[in-house]
Symmetry: C2
Subunit: 412 residues, 2 copies
């Protein structure tokens, strides 16, 4: 089976938003083992939408549309597709009741326009929408499947996950289980080399790598009859990946590096503080973006100026003068003094040159030192990073967190 993703919306053709829905759906279809050969985007124009639909049905088994299910007169996806398929639109009472209840909960009057959202092609299967007023639908006709979902990702994604994904599991007679293995501290080509035979030999489960901003994710996906069978197939492959990549695997359940570090600290009832120069609050910010971080994260310092490093952390003027603000000695002293002053169990420090200015031949842009102090022991790393300011800062944060993770786990 193969699928085509057809997005409808002039805002996409005007460049006001990126087609992230197509990316999400493509990933999920890959997990289902359904090939996606085409993405298409058309505007809110019935003629071009109809042409695109006919073309898509000629070349694909499944056509999934996003967008154009709103209440306005520009929203014509359902009307256009129903006409192209020769199906009348009929009211779906449950959806109409839901839309009415949706507005009364918000204490807002329902517009007459919203009634049209409850009309669906006759014989279609409804895809409920918990987060908005536009239901989606699934139409089967002549061996083809047409699925219509709304455009806003916050509505579309849960609708796909809760109704459309299980629909295809039911259709294909198998369910899909998957786990996301997260890797840091090893380059893309090294990961590929170490896993190449696994990736090539494995057909169930499959292993698909995604290269992120400084880290790599490996999606392990199994097709099975039930969840237990999926887990039984996936677990040994995850084990093999762990054997090949060692301590560079920081999660086998899709957690972010921040989540992993916060969890390790939380399990021991330990606290964390941060002292940042070039990352300038990004490290603290990433930690605090995890709900519940307050149990572990105590406080952070953005000591951008040398004076701040001395006054807030207690780094000695001597160290700064002898080695400079960007040095292993300063990084280690930042982490050590930080923990002393805040009486936290763990402290992380980052100092470096994120560019684009400020580099010298001895200390070029991308030179960053990270240090971690854990219960009295301090370790540090020297990094030479590539990329722009944003990338250097992001990857520095990951290295600092990873250093602490390794210390917490007793990994060299």
């Amino acid at each position: 089976m193969n699928a085509e993703i057809l997005a409808v919306g002039t805002e996409l053709l005007m460049g006001q938003i990126a087609n992230t829905n197509a990316q999400y759906l493509s990933r999920r279809f890959a997990e289902l083992g359904i090939d996606v050969y085409y993405h298409s985007v058309v505007g809110d124009n019935p003629r071009r939408l109809k042409d695109a639909l006919i073309r898509a049905l000629e070349r694909s088994d499944i056509v999934i549309t996003t967008g154009g299910l709103g209440p306005t007169k520009d929203d014509l996806t359902k009307e256009t597709i129903a006409e192209a398929l020769g199906l009348p639109l009929v009211v779906h009472q449950e959806s109409l009741d839901y839309i009415k209840a949706f507005f009364s909960k918000l204490n807002r009057p329902m517009c007459e326009n919203n009634v049209k959202q409850a009309y669906l092609p006759a014989g279609s299967k409804v895809v409920p929408n918990r987060n908005g007023t536009a239901p989606g639908c699934i139409v089967e006709q002549g061996g083809k499947v047409v699925i219509m979902l709304p455009g806003p990702p916050k509505e579309m994604i849960p609708m796909f996950d809760e109704t459309v994904f299980p629909y295809f599991e039911g259709k294909t007679g198998h369910i899909i289980g998957s786990r996301l293995v997260k890797v840091f501290g090893m380059g893309e080509s090294e990961v590929e080399t170490r896993l190449m035979d696994l990736v090539e030999q494995q057909s169930n489960p499959t292993i698909a790598p995604y290269v992120g901003y400084g880290d790599i994710s490996l999606r392990v996906t199994a097709k099975c009859r039930n969840r237990d069978e999926a887990e039984a197939l996936i677990a040994p492959v995850v084990e093999k990946i762990r054997e090949r990549l060692g301590a560079c695997v920081y999660s086998d359940s899709g957690e972010s590096m921040e989540e992993v570090v916060l969890k390790l600290l939380s399990e021991k009832g330990w606290t964390l503080s941060t002292a940042e120069s070039c990352t300038g609050g990004m490290l603290a910010s990433r930690l605090i973006n995890i709900p519940g971080a307050s149990r572990v994260f105590d406080r952070g310092f953005v000591t951008y100026s040398n004076a701040a490093k001395v006054q807030e952390l207690g780094v000695s003027q001597k160290t700064l003068e002898a080695f400079g603000a960007v040095s292993r000695e300063t990084a280690e002293e930042m982490a050590t003094r930080l923990v002393e002053r805040t009486k936290t169990n763990a402290g992380l420090a980052v100092t470096g040159i994120a560019g684009p200015d400020g580099g010298t031949p001895e200390k070029p842009v991308g030179l960053v030192y990270v240090a971690a102090c854990l219960n009295g022991r301090t370790e540090s790393l020297k990094l030479n990073l590539r990329g722009d300011r944003e990338r250097i800062r992001t990857v520095s944060c990951l290295h600092a967190l990873d250093l602490l993770r390794r210390m917490l786990l007793g990994i060299q």
Copy 2:
């Protein structure tokens, strides 16, 4: 004239990346006054690429492809399109020399594969690539234009801006000037209402709104014979927008809120510090992401725990007990004490409940107070924000910066 954007790359169909190139190009074509009616994506598959190209040439005047110009055997865009157009590929000596120099500068040997990157369809106009080895090209045939650009945005965007955009300016006989007006503190519908007649009446320049994460951008675009004429057309429209939206316009040259605030402080030689609770370093991080921030930004505190607010900033235990950590009183005291302790000219403080947990009926998720202290005077704002943790934190940062901006400019 109308254009179609045809992206080539299996990584797009696998959902490994989003098609941000299509968004960028669509925006730029809108500025050129060229309509984009279709986006398409196909994989690294010559048959489907050829079909998509033929289809695109039937329905569009301009076809611009991204991707598939790399050195590997999967990269087949040029070969496939040249064949479809009946054009031989011929070596472009200047590009070959450039590729050779590119590798010798990196001290890496050039692969034989890279030679094929210097072959272009006969008669095509080369689009030089400053940031990679794959040149692009422009082919004119039978009144149609086919343009091929590489996939990586860091290569594609400068190539489009430096060669393709001026090419269309030359073709259309006019140049395009544009300015980005940035707006904060006014809702999307309010902005639309205030500008509706301008947006509808204006045909040159045009006004196109883009809704961001908490702020709104208005692109004012003029078609003219030269830059001076463009500026003469744009300036009065920007003036009208300023009249309608008042102090909510924080930049008329595309600057971010951080840039605007740092510039205002820098002009006076003033310094800035931050004290953050729920934003947790995000405010400092955004400021420090601006190159040159070090001239203004002195230091920041992430005082997530109450103890940290007392110990690091000197907020009184009494205030915390009487009003709670999330209160106007605590926010103002954070900002005032911060400036006293750091001896900076300006201080920004944020405290609030970013969720998803921690809300109560009296202090729900999304309740945030921001305060700014400027040379001894402290002002604050109470916010009730919607959205998830990330959005609440982001919008809080913008409000804090905007409060300081207004104080710096003496705007009520």
